[in-house]
């Protein structure tokens, strides 16, 4: 692992360091957490089935643009924005509504200023830890080469904001089974989901910049004073951006798991509907 020493006694090479603490615990947890999520989300998206139960819709599948009503555990056709599953869909891909929409929240998280840190460190090894040798590369270009796309984060943000509304709509529907108001564990799970997502989305660095961060003077007129107020609120959320990111990530997967297990008949939902 460690290569030749140089002036100063620093060792060179991937993961080389004089640090004596367990610096690798953080990146390792990130690999497990993010890797686990990606594997599960991909698997769940490929299913194309068991994403709907009673009024509950898995957030991985929302919004439903097209529906294949023949899939087991599919939502009723009336829930689709554009009707039945299109015939042009290539047959080698499962007819999963998740494929049509997951790219948006995915892009938001992938270009997020927190997640960037997390995966640059734990997957790209640039660097794996502070004062720890990075994965050797010919010429480091940071976010000026291919990764210049990270600058599109704010566009992903616009979509992510739209998703909050969509998911709150799902949560609202989750309180009505066959037109009758009620509360089930699933309703609560689906209500917490967009709430955590909102906490994550509205603490976004790009959002913080757009609402007020771009101003140099907060007190110069009434509108900038208002924006300063919003900026301060966003700043509070921003401090916990990492925590919000993980909580919302975990919860969205949990929501899918919960709906899926209900739909598959493995679990029973506790609810007022009986």
């Amino acid at each position: 692992m460690a290569e030749a020493a140089r002036a100063g006694g620093h060792i060179i090479g991937f993961a080389a360091t004089t640090r004596t603490d367990r610096w690798w615990v953080g990146p390792l947890l990130t690999v497990l957490g993010l890797g686990g999520f990606v594997v599960y989300a991909t698997w769940a998206a490929f299913q194309g089935s068991h994403y709907y139960y009673g009024p509950y819709l898995s957030p991985f599948y929302s919004p439903l643009l097209f529906i294949d009503p023949n899939a087991p555990g599919a939502a009723p056709l009336g829930q689709a924005w554009f009707g039945t599953w299109p015939s042009w869909w290539p047959s080698f891909l499962p007819a999963s509504p998740a494929f049509l929409i997951l790219v948006f929240p995915g892009a938001f998280r992938a270009t997020c200023y927190y997640y960037r840190k997390a995966y640059y460190r734990s997957f790209f090894g640039t660097p794996p830890g502070c004062a720890v040798g990075p994965l050797p590369r010919r010429r480091y270009r940071g976010e000026t080469g291919l990764l210049i796309v990270q600058n599109l984060h704010r566009y992903a943000l616009y979509f992510a904001i739209a998703f909050i509304f969509i998911l709150y709509d799902d949560a609202f529907r989750a309180f009505f089974r066959d037109g009758q108001f009620g509360v089930g564990v699933g309703s609560v799970v689906l209500l917490i989901n967009p709430t955590l997502l909102a906490g994550y989305t509205f603490g976004c660095h790009s959002w913080r910049h757009l609402v007020g961060g771009r101003l140099d003077c907060f007190s110069c007129d009434r509108s900038s004073a208002l924006r300063h107020g919003i900026w301060k609120g966003v700043s509070i959320l921003n401090v916990g951006h990492m925590q919000w990111a993980w909580a919302s990530l975990f919860w969205v997967a949990l929501s899918d798991v919960y709906v899926r297990l209900l739909s598959m008949g493995v679990l029973r939902d506790l609810s007022t509907w009986g």
């Binding site: 002036a7 100063g8 006694g9 620093h10 360091t17 004089t18 640090r19 004596t20 603490d21 200023y113 960037r116 840190k117 640059y120 460190r121 640039t126 660097p127 502070c130 004062a131 040798g133 990075p134 590369r137 480091y140 270009r141 940071g142 976010e143 000026t144 990764l147 210049i148 600058n151 599109l152 984060h153 704010r154 566009y155 660095h205 790009s206 913080r208 910049h209 757009l210 961060g213 771009r214 140099d216 003077c217 907060f218 007190s219 300063h228 921003n238 401090v239 951006h241």
Partner: protein, 247 residues
Amino acid sequence: MSERLFRIWRGTAAGGSFVEYRVDVDPGMVVLDVLHRIQARLANDLAIRWNCKAGKCGSCSMEINGRPRLACMTRMNQFGGAEMIAVQPMKTFPVVKDLVTDVSWNYEQNRRIPPFRPKPRPADGQYRMRQVDVDRVQEFRKCIECFLCQDVCHVLRDQSRKDAFVGPRLMIRLASLEMHPLDTEDRVPALREEFGSGLCNITRCCTEVCPEQIQITDNGIIPLKERVVDRYFDPLLGLVRKVFRRK
């Protein structure tokens, strides 16, 4: 009083090695105190750069057990009883001797930054800024120029891209000027082209080592990157600006 084992890198740019010292440590001591004791008793010519001994001047930057730190703010009681303590010079800068490095590169970068250009004074001669307007800039101006952030930044430390990126310290300096309510200079193009805002991949080590707890990444570099996005990557905002004819 207890005896501790120190491993200190001794040498010059031409080469050197770790040398071990056994030294008595009193309660309440910081690493710099121990180094001074070693200097006074065991190694008279040990080179250390230090000044205030209170975390205010940012001179005694070095790497203690592999972590970039101020020696004057690293208390001995945070180390386990039998733990050996390794002390090295900063990696990012050329070694002068022992624990002292040549940090002149940072001063050279500072010279490249377009200076403060204030608005003209109002008629009564008094500039007016609200505390809310200066809070943000004041955070950046807490910087004590210890250059630990420069040391830990992998772009400078490991990737040898001093040619393309000025490093977190200078990004913070740029932020303190760009967000200054009185400043009229536009540094956004230079931020991208000359100072390399795109080279930073926001892995936040700079923030982790900052002894002044400046939120270098969240409050400094990311907002600067967003200003670059405003200018170069956001046609929508450009259009809005055109329509409403405002900056």
